[in-house]
Structures are given as structure tokens and as C-alpha cells.
């Protein structure tokens, strides 16, 4: 009785599966295809619209020195701002994530994770306004101090910007914006450390910090790299906050606190597009294509890094 019951159930299950399985397989395949098509569509659009700017004579491009000369400072500014942002936010975010996952009492950890998640929900234009009206004036004092005392460093050569609307300020604003992304993901990765690994370290006589270095960080490394890359993606593409904060002159310089600052691609598009016509539009699209390529390269490099490090660990 019982065995026949299961037998029929099994047959009916396999019967249903023959319809349901291909259906869901097709559904997921369609979803994956849509993603690829969307990406291909964007790439095709960017290429076709950017083409006139690529072939145009150099004196017709803004600045008059051709497309490469136009794009280079923007690419430089984009990478510099993103690098500054990550240099500030990545260590901070990893520290916050470790504090939440392994040091804070549960209630405090919940509160902090909630606040950090909230930071991610604030619209970027609000960060921009905060950057202009609050952060930049405050930082300008620090900048003049830096120019006076460590001005021998090329980074702080000055003369310090009076408004404080420099690439470093933009980097700080971007750091605040990327912090929640990186720390939220890192927190999840750190929380997934197997309890068995943590106890292995503790049972050997590891202190809490030694346990983190032994068990938590090695396990979480690839996850933290991925989290940082997502943060980098946000920093590279951020438009509004940078457009508001940065007072750009389009110069390629590592002087972080002066009035001469390179702009970023995204901010430049947002600022120039309303008044652009004809070939100028194509030039802006070409800069968009450059950003697209940069994001791609950065993501692939990060993936390669993660894959290589996990292979050398052999796990």
C-alpha cells in the first residue's frame, strides 16, 4: 500500500517535471539573454554615436587638439577621483564590517549596520549639496594647512583652493558614498566565516584579532575584493555629486588641493550635455564609451585577481 503510493507519486512527479523543467530552463535562459542583449545594445549605441567624433578632424573637437587630448584629462580625473575614494573608504569600510561582524555587541551591531545601509539610500545629489555647502568649506582650512606644512609633497603642492571644491573633496564625498556598499557586502562575507574555522583559531590560543587574521580575512578576501570593485563601480560612474562638488579646469595634475582639477567623465557629460550640439554630442558619447570600457576592464581585472588568488590557494 505504502510502496505503491510512493511509486505513483514518483511517476506523477517525473511527469510534471517533463513540462516544468524545460519551461523554467527556458525562462532563466531568456532572462540571461535579455541581459546580454541589453549590454550589447548599449555598446552598439555608444560605438555608432561615438564614431563621428573618432573620425572628425581634430580641430572640430572641443579644445581643438583631437579626441584623445579631450578624453585623456577626463579619464585621468575619473580614475584619480575613484582611486582617492577607495583609498579612503576601503580600509574604513573593512574596519566597520569587522567591527559589526566580530566586535560589537549584537544590538550595537544591528544599529550600525542599519545606519550604514541608510547611507546607501541617500540620493547622490544630497551628498553633492553636503559636499559643496558643508564639507568643502571645512576641508579648505585643512587644505591650506596641508599646503603650508607638507607642501613639498607633490600631492599637496597647493596653492590651496579657497573654496575647497577640489578633486580631493570629490574623493572624500565619493568615499562616503562607496562606504556603505563595501562595508555591507564585506560584513556579509565576514559573517559567513565558518564557526568551525573561528573556533580552530581560538582553540589554538588566538586572540580575537589573531583569529580574524587567521580565519576571517583569508576566507573573506575574494568577497572583499568583489565588494571593493562594486564600490569602485559606483565611484567611477557617480555623476551628480561630483558635478556639484568639483570645480574643474581640465588639467592633468596630481596636485589634489589646488584650484586646477581634472573633471570626471560622468560629471563632464552631465555638465556639458544640455548645451552640446552636433559633433559635441558625439564627443560626449565617445567619453561615455571610454567610461564603459574602463568599467569593463576594471571588473575583469578584479575577477582575474580573485580567480588567481583563489587558484593559488588551491581551494
Amino acid at each position: 500500500m505504502w510502496s505503491t503510493g510512493t511509486a505513483t507519486q514518483q511517476t506523477s512527479q517525473t511527469g510534471r517535471r517533463t513540462v516544468a523543467d524545460p519551461f523554467f530552463a527556458g525562462l532563466t535562459r531568456a532572462a540571461a539573454t535579455v541581459i546580454l542583449l541589453a549590454l550589447a545594445g548599449v555598446a552598439a549605441f555608444l560605438c555608432s554615436e561615438a564614431w563621428p567624433a573618432v573620425t572628425a578632424p581634430s580641430d572640430r573637437i572641443a579644445g581643438g587638439d583631437g579626441l584623445v587630448a579631450y578624453l585623456w584629462p577626463l579619464v585621468f580625473g575619473t580614475l584619480l577621483a575613484a582611486a582617492l575614494a577607495l583609498a579612503i573608504s576601503a580600509p574604513l569600510a573593512i574596519g566597520v564590517a569587522l567591527f559589526i561582524s566580530h566586535f560589537a555587541p549584537r544590538r550595537l551591531a544591528l544599529l550600525i549596520s542599519y545606519v550604514v545601509d541608510l547611507l546607501a539610500a541617500v540620493p547622490s545629489v544630497v551628498y553633492g549639496l553636503w559636499g559643496i555647502f558643508y564639507l568643502a568649506p571645512k576641508l579648505s582650512h585643512i587644505y591650506s594647512w596641508l599646503a603650508d606644512h607638507v607642501g613639498w609633497l607633490p600631492l599637496f603642492a597647493g596653492p590651496a583652493s579657497v573654496t575647497g571644491r577640489t578633486i580631493l573633496t570629490a574623493g572624500v564625498v565619493l568615499a562616503v558614498m562607496t562606504l556603505p556598499v563595501i562595508s555591507a557586502l564585506s560584513r556579509e562575507v565576514f559573517l559567513q566565516t565558518p564557526r568551525l574555522q573561528e573556533e580552530a583559531a581560538l582553540a589554538l590560543g588566538a586572540t580575537r584579532w589573531e583569529m580574524i587574521r587567521m580565519a576571517v580575512l583569508p576566507q573573506g578576501r575574494s568577497g572583499v575584493v568583489s565588494a571593493t570593485m562594486l564600490g569602485l563601480g559606483r565611484a567611477l560612474g557617480e555623476t551628480m555629486a561630483v558635478a556639484l562638488v568639483l570645480s574643474a579646469s581640465g588639467l592633468v595634475t596630481f596636485n589634489l588641493i589646488s584650484t586646477d582639477n581634472p573633471s570626471t567623465i560622468a560629471a563632464n557629460i552631465a555638465l556639458q550635455f544640455p548645451e552640446a550640439t552636433g559633433i559635441q554630442v558625439n564627443t560626449l558619447v565617445a567619453s561615455g564609451l571610454a567610461l564603459f570600457v574602463i568599467t569593463f576592464v576594471v571588473n575583469f581585472a578584479a575577477r582575474g585577481l580573485v580567480a588567481r588568488s583563489s587558484k593559488s590557494e588551491g581551494s
Binding site: R106, P194, L196, Q197, E198, E199, A200, A201, L202, A203, L204, G205, A206, T207, E210, M214, A215, P218, Q219, R221, E313, G314, S315
Partner: protein
């Protein structure tokens, strides 16, 4: 090397829940003490309280005395980190550090002591620990390979080597063979036999035959019902516990009538 552990009137708590009540037990040096009993009777909690691993669970605490070498392990001036360096532990499932090589796994505890080792010293420590754990012949040609590349039984012996490398007084084993096949289990049991000449060993096991095979002293834990604390019912020399136990509950458990 080996030291005796004296436990008296030990109560173990998880928050407000009392998991183990009023245990008094001596674990003699250079011998194997087996802790047996049904699931939930508190034998693992008891084992973890011996090297202060119990308290890494939030809310967990103990009351009572655990004395080794004349010192209370729960005295206020005792650092749990140092206790754990003296009392090593092997877990239910093998847990080598997956990102470390075999050699680095063995040295992990040694490196915590912050001592600088030169290459020759490190190699010697690795060899000695792996020989002690009866794993040297199997891995000596691939010490740089990741620890996770070994079989389950080899991983467990690697974990034993890792615990031995810091030269502990006592080795605690929490069902060390429950995730292993019979051949690996035999290897570990043989190892326990040789290790007891140098260490105090306390082992938790669900396998009665294993307790009978490896231990000199057996302690039987039981609990009156779900939600009630576990008690130490009876302890004594292993042959006696397995042939003529004093308590009828012990006999019932050992003969397989419950649990």
C-alpha cells in the same frame, strides 16, 4: 608534559539555561578519559569548558572550579587565550585552515606565540608534530600543498598535529572520528594510544566500542529529560564501567537499551 585536571562542582550555563549541573571529575595525566552519554547530556559542553572554549558562545558561562597544576583555570587573573595554548582541542569535523598549506597549518599555533622561527626550526617543528600525529609519511613530499587537499582522515590528523605543535599539556577531542570512515577511525584510535604516553587526553564519543577501546577511565553523563541539566552519573575505570557499572542507567546505556 601531561597534567591532571580536577573539576569540582562545575555548573555550565547557556544564558539562563543550565546545561550541566554539579560535575566533579578528575582527569588523570597520561591517560585517556572518555565522556559518553546521550545527545544533549552536556558532555561536549563539559569538554569545551575545560579549555574555556565554552565561553566563546555569547551568554555562555560556568560556575565551579577547574584546576590544573594547582591553578584555577577560571581564576580572575587567568587569560583564556593562554589556557587554550596549554590545552589543545580537536573538533568533531576536521577544520584545517583552507587557505594555508599543510606546513603552515601545523605552524599556525606556533606563530601565534609571536616567536620568530628560522627555516630549520620551523621545519623541525612541522616534522615532529606530523610524526606525532602519524601523518608524516603520507604528506612529507607535499608540505606546501593546501591542507584542504588531504582526505578527511588525514585532515583530522593534520588538526591533531596542529594542536600538538604548540606542545600542550592536555588534548581535548570532541568526537574526533564521527565524520571519518572506519579505516581513518582506526588510525586516529591508534594515535590516541601512542599520544596518551605524553599527554592527558579527554575524548567525547558517541561510539561505545571506541570508548571501550581507547580509554582508561570512562565518565557517563545523562540528563533526566529535555530541558533539564545533564549530570555526571558515574565514572570509573573503563573495564569496570563496561562490565559492572554501579548505576542501572549506565548499564542500560552501555548495553544499548536507550540513547
Amino acid at each position: 608534559m601531561a597534567k591532571t585536571i580536577d573539576v569540582s562542582d562545575l555548573d555550565i550555563y547557556y544564558g539562563s539555561f543550565k546545561a550541566v549541573e554539579d560535575v566533579t571529575l578528575t582527569m588523570a595525566s597520561r591517560s585517556v578519559t572518555a565522556l559518553i552519554g546521550p545527545s544533549g547530556c552536556g558532555k561536549s559542553s563539559f569538554l569545551r569548558s575545560l579549555n574555556r572554549m565554552h565561553e566563546v558562545i555569547p551568554g555562555a558561562r560556568v560556575e565551579g572550579k577547574v584546576i590544573m597544576d594547582g591553578r584555577g583555570l577560571y581564576d580572575v587573573d587567568v587569560d583564556p587565550v593562554l589556557v587554550r595554548r596549554d590545552i589543545g582541542m580537536v573538533f568533531q569535523r576536521p577544520n584545517p585552515f583552507p587557505t594555508m598549506s599543510i606546513a603552515d597549518n601545523v605552524l599556525a599555533g606556533k606563530r601565534l606565540n609571536g616567536k620568530r622561527m628560522n627555516r630549520a626550526e620551523a621545519a623541525e617543528i612541522v616534522e615532529r608534530a606530523l610524526v606525532s600525529a602519524n601523518l608524516w609519511n603520507e604528506v612529507k613530499d607535499r608540505l606546501r600543498k593546501p591542507g584542504a587537499s588531504l582526505s578527511g582522515g588525514q585532515q583530522q590528523r593534520l588538526c591533531i598535529a596542529r594542536a600538538l605543535a604548540v606542545e600542550p599539556q592536555v588534548l581535548l577531542m570532541d568526537e574526533p572520528c564521527s565524520a571519518l570512515d572506519p579505516i581513518s577511525t582506526t588510525a586516529i584510535e591508534d594515535l590516541i594510544h601512542t599520544l596518551k604516553e605524553r599527554y592527558t587526553i579527554v575524548i567525547v564519543t558517541h561510539n561505545m566500542q571506541q570508548a571501550a577501546r581507547v580509554s582508561d577511565t570512562t565518565a557517563f553523563f545523562n540528563l533526566a529529560g529535555a530541558g533539564r541539566p545533564g549530570h555526571l552519573i558515574e565514572s570509573g575505570s573503563t573495564p569496570k564501567i563496561f562490565s559492572t557499572p554501579d548505576n542501572p542507567a549506565t548499564e542500560a546505556y552501555i548495553s544499548g537499551r536507550f540513547g
